[in-house]
């Protein structure tokens, strides 16, 4: 390969990664969901239809209200993500938000987020709360706005285009010092819900915290998720979507694909590389240098990544 070819391939790879903070499109082809980077899908040269039917876009961890150094303009980065989605030639049927809509669960932050989401051309928005959305003392702000779909329980299911979607909540059932859980009541409900589906039905399960243990010391997992995963093994196509960790981690296990989404707000350190899973400040000049090295470093800062892309 010539230097020029190497550079070109590298530029394209960087371009894909650079926009990764915006969201991920899941295309449906033959009952199998394929995650496609949103920027690639939105690019007219890569018509989204080439990947299958654009079914939904996953947005995550918008953290409206966050204004610290890691990203002082989370409204701006969410707006960019919304513009990217709205610019897709074929609109996705659904938008799925996998939680941490707001940073501090205040009414103002929820209202602002709602106003921004209302600008999406795709109007069917499904949500599951993150722990930042249920951090108000009364745990009521999220449910008063988004609780209707689940009758305020936080978990519900629906069907679209032959795909069965299950929205779960794993940010309320906490015990001190332990991983979050789904809880017995929700597990009983999802067991009954899945029992009614044929094994050939494509299943999409989404919740905020990872439904597989990525890093227990930081709470990146769900303590009783195994009881759920056992029931999913008989299905031919299962996609498990989570947010929370502000970086892409993927795993394929049999017919199950696990995918955690990037945040539109700010990056977090890779598991175990900092005192805790807080916002990761990345100097812009350092970021540009990190972009070209590994895929881990490109997840650091969506806002600056967009700037880096302009120089490419």
């Amino acid at each position: 390969m010539t230097d020029d070819q190497t550079l070109k391939g590298r530029r394209n790879a960087l371009k894909c990664m650079a926009y990764g903070g915006a969201g991920t499109l899941f295309a449906l082809a033959g009952g199998v969901l394929t995650p496609v980077d949103l920027a690639v899908a939105a690019d007219t040269k890569n018509a989204a239809t080439a990947f299958g039917k654009p079914l939904f876009v996953q947005l995550s961890d918008t953290h409206i209200g966050f204004a610290k150094d890691a990203n002082p303009d989370v409204n701006g980065t969410l707006t960019s993500a919304i513009e990217l989605i709205n610019g897709m030639s074929q609109q996705p049927a659904l938008i799925i938000h996998t939680g941490d809509i707001t940073h501090l669960s205040t009414p103002e932050q929820f209202d602002l987020a709602g106003q921004m989401f209302s600008r999406l051309r795709a109007t069917e928005l499904h949500t599951t709360p993150g722990e930042h959305d249920v951090a108000d003392a009364t745990v009521s702000e999220y449910f008063s706005r988004f609780g209707k779909a689940s009758a305020n329980k936080g978990y519900y299911s629906f069907d679209h285009s032959g795909v069965h979607f299950v929205s779960l909540i794993n940010v309320l059932s906490f015990k001190a010092g332990a991983l979050a859980t789904l809880g017995a009541e929700q597990l009983a409900w999802v067991t009954a819900d899945l029992k009614a589906r044929s094994s050939s039905t494509p299943i999409v399960i989404f919740a905020h915290m990872p439904l597989w243990t990525i890093y227990e010391p930081w709470g990146w997992g769900t303590g009783d998720a195994d009881q759920l995963l056992q029931q999913l093994r008989r299905f031919g196509s299962v996609t498990v979507l989570n947010g929370h960790i502000h970086q892409i981690v993927q795993k394929v296990e049999g017919n199950m694909t696990f995918h955690t989404a990037r945040s539109t707000a700010y990056p977090q350190p890779a598991a175990g590389t900092a005192a805790g899973p807080g916002p990761l400040k990345v100097p812009t000049e350092q970021l540009a240098g990190m972009l070209g090295i590994t895929s881990v470093s490109v997840v650091k800062h969506p806002r600056s990544l967009a700037l880096s892309d302009a120089t490419l």
Binding site: H132, A135, G276, G278
Partner: protein, 112 residues
Amino acid sequence: MIRKINRSLPAALSVVALMLVSAAAPAAPPETARIAIKDFMFAPMELTTHVGAVVTWVNQDDEPHTIVSATGLFRSGALDTDMSYTFTFDKPGTYRVFCSIHPQMTATIIVE
């Protein structure tokens, strides 16, 4: 002997007087304690105090935290950087608290 008694008498009287003064004075301010939240940890992680103690948690992280009693006795809202939450412990006991955003963060308050 007599001299000795005479000498100790004023001292004994002054002790009584001191007790009377302290009883008449307004109640002493309640005991206070401060627990910092830094680097996803409570500091101190264990605090021993007394009935009536006013405990204040202050978040020094860039990340919000909450103070939640493991038994559901109290629950703060989200505390952003430099925000604080205060709870008064009226009864003796061992109280376990954690952060509902990062439940790996735990602390124990022992009220005697």
